[in-house]
């Protein structure tokens, strides 16, 4: 496996770029580096473009790199990225970052595509004593739910703000957290999502006596 500057971009051929929900895709390319779950890669469509960071969703042993992304209509990258097909090129950096939720027990909290690093951790074998709380707007927003549903059972909480469904909390994940009378204070909380979600969730956890020392956040930007 090759060692290189994490910020220089290298060309990769897309293996697949599949829609898994409306406006949400998993792009796959061959892995030629080692990484730690929770790490990110920078991605661009041209080596001279300003890249965007994406968490790796695949596991350490997977031969492919999976990137979970949603189309941001106003964005410069994701609309054309979603049109790529097998054989097209992307430019990606080596992995970097240190959002590694290996502690056990631990609570993983994700919003939308913020589930990606937790999918990577899970697929890499980091599975012991985890509570996963995933927030999404729609019932189709629980990406990779087949991965977690059977294995985590009652420790897999899905919170849907815009729709109701079987076994799904109807409301935002922050509402679910606020409704919990006793959140455990003796474990790590790993948060991944937008700035709004991370800041609001962190405030709730601190209000519920979770030490900020036990809160680790990854914000996608």
């Amino acid at each position: 496996m090759e060692e290189r500057n994490p910020l220089s971009l290298k060309e990769y051929k897309v293996i697949a770029n599949d829609a898994i929900a409306p406006g949400v895709f998993v792009l796959r390319y061959r892995r030629d580096f080692t990484f730690i779950p929770g790490q990110v890669v920078a991605v661009a469509l041209h080596p001279a473009h300003q890249p965007r960071m994406y968490s790796i969703a695949s596991g350490m042993q997977d031969e492919e790199v999976w990137l979970l992304y949603n189309i941001r209509p106003e964005g410069e990258l994701t609309p054309p990225l979603s049109e790529l097909i097998a054989g097209h090129s992307i430019f990606a950096s080596a992995p970097s970052g240190s959002f590694y939720g290996k502690a056990a027990p631990a609570v993983w909290i994700a919003a939308g595509t913020g589930i990606a690093p937790f999918v990577s951790m899970w697929r890499s074998g980091i599975r012991r004593d985890k509570l996963l709380i995933h927030g999404g707007r729609f019932l189709h927003s629980f990406y990779f739910e087949d991965t977690f549903k059977g294995a985590l059972r009652e420790n897999y909480i899905r919170c849907c703000s815009n729709e109701s469904g079987d076994g799904v909390f109807h409301g935002r994940l922050t509402t679910w957290l606020q409704q919990q009378p006793n959140l455990p204070t003796d474990r790590k909380y790993y948060l991944c999502g937008s700035a709004e979600m991370v800041v609001e969730t962190r405030d709730i956890l601190i209000e519920k006596q979770i030490s900020y020392d036990n809160i680790v956040a990854e914000i996608y930007f």
Binding site: L7, G38, V40, A42, Q50, P51, M53, S96, G97, S98, F99, A111, G112, G135, G136, R137, S141, C159, S161, R172, L173, T174, G193, S194, A195, E196, M197, V198, V199, T201, R202, D203, I206, E207, S211, Y212, D213, I215, V216, A217, E218, I219, F221
Partner: protein, 346 residues
């Protein structure tokens, strides 16, 4: 539909506009002169442009200045200006007069994505990037414009998360066709977005301020989520290996948190990691925000911390807290209450 603003266009962009209109190339410099060097507010006042040029410009563009909508004045003379930045979006700029200098602290984004534990701006999430025009409008549209001696990009937002518009604004501020400011009077702050910081170091001559707040990785991860993506150690390596020349300054911002980052262990580690970097540290008192688990270090501890760092050979100063009573002090800028709630995906 609102017309596009001319204010905030670089010379290169103006050249493209005039070429598109079939106007003489020199018209671009004339327009830049009117936008950035003269005290006018309409295209019609650009009196050395041909009538046809003014007609064409008026048809497609507006001058583009935005007046402030509110001002608050602190007992210490600091003034906080509120500007609209699009539909239900607002930013603040803080004017800080001192005996020998007058500084304007400008915003670069509405809100911020970085989610630092100690910052009020982060609590409102991120709404949008400012354009170069909206950034320099803060300089141009306050009554104290002529008194300004320094500009710091330390208001709302992470400047290097909006690198393209920030670089354009710096070009306009420092170019001879623009405001002609010395880059040595402008400081851009960052929490360390490495690709953008490399670009800023290479393509600008302005000073750099890095929000550090602790030398230890694990502590910084808790205070600043960015540490999970771009490590401070990598930020320091880049600065250490970059030839900054004699004039350009790097400073590290360090908010003092009681019992967290204010110990002799921190002094020792700061001295170790800053070895080989010509820099200074600005200590900042923490201004508490709602719901924060953090407290400010006491004045005695801060004073001792500063002495200890200076004794280690690191030039260290304590930044005066200004405008705290109007929430204009470091880390307190926020327009959360004015922002329409966004669509949440959680």
């Amino acid at each position: 539909m609102a017309k596009e603003a001319l204010f905030g266009k670089t010379l290169g962009e103006l050249q493209k506009i005039v070429a598109g209109f079939g106007l003489p190339a020199y018209t671009a410099r004339q327009i830049a002169g009117w936008l950035y060097q003269k005290d006018i507010t309409t295209i019609d006042e650009m009196s050395n442009l041909s009538k046809n040029a003014r007609l064409l410009l008026n048809e497609h563009y507006e001058f583009g200045l935005t007046p402030f909508t509110k001002v608050q004045t602190s007992t210490d003379g600091t003034r906080k200006y509120l500007f609209a930045a699009g539909d239900m979006k607002f930013i603040e700029a803080a004017y800080i007069p001192e005996e020998e200098r007058s500084t304007l602290c400008v915003s670069s984004q509405v809100g911020c994505k970085m989610g630092c534990l100690f910052c009020m701006t982060g609590k409102q999430g991120f709404q949008t990037n400012l354009t170069a025009g909206q950034i320099i409008n803060q300089v141009r549209s306050i009554p104290e414009t002529a008194k300004l001696t320094n500009i710091v990009y330390m208001g709302m937002g992470e400047p290097l998360d909006n690198i393209d518009e920030v670089m354009k604004s710096l070009e306009i501020m420092t170019a001879d066709w623009g405001y002609g400011w010395s880059p040595k009077r402008i400081t851009v702050s960052t929490i360390g977005i490495i690709p953008a910081m490399r670009l800023f170091l290479a393509q600008s001559q302005c000073h750099l301020a890095v929000s550090m707040h602790t030398p230890f990785e694990e502590e910084r991860q808790r205070l600043m989520p960015i540490e999970n993506v771009y490590k401070l150690s990598e930020v320091l390596d880049i600065i250490r290996n970059f030839d900054l020349g004699r004039q350009r300054r790097v400073s590290f911002e360090y908010i003092m948190f009681k019992g967290i980052n204010d110990t002799p262990r921190h002094v020792k580690e700061l001295a170790r990691i800053l070895n080989g970097i010509r820099c200074r540290i600005n200590l900042i008192r923490f201004h508490p925000i709602p719901g924060t688990p953090l407290e400010s270090s006491t004045d005695e501890v801060i004073e001792q911390f500063m002495i200890d760092l200076n004794e280690k050979g690191i030039r260290t100063t304590l930044r005066a807290s200004r405008g705290q009573d109007i929430f204009a002090a470091c880390g307190l800028l926020s327009t959360k209450e004015l922002v329409k709630r966004q669509q949440e995906d959680y």
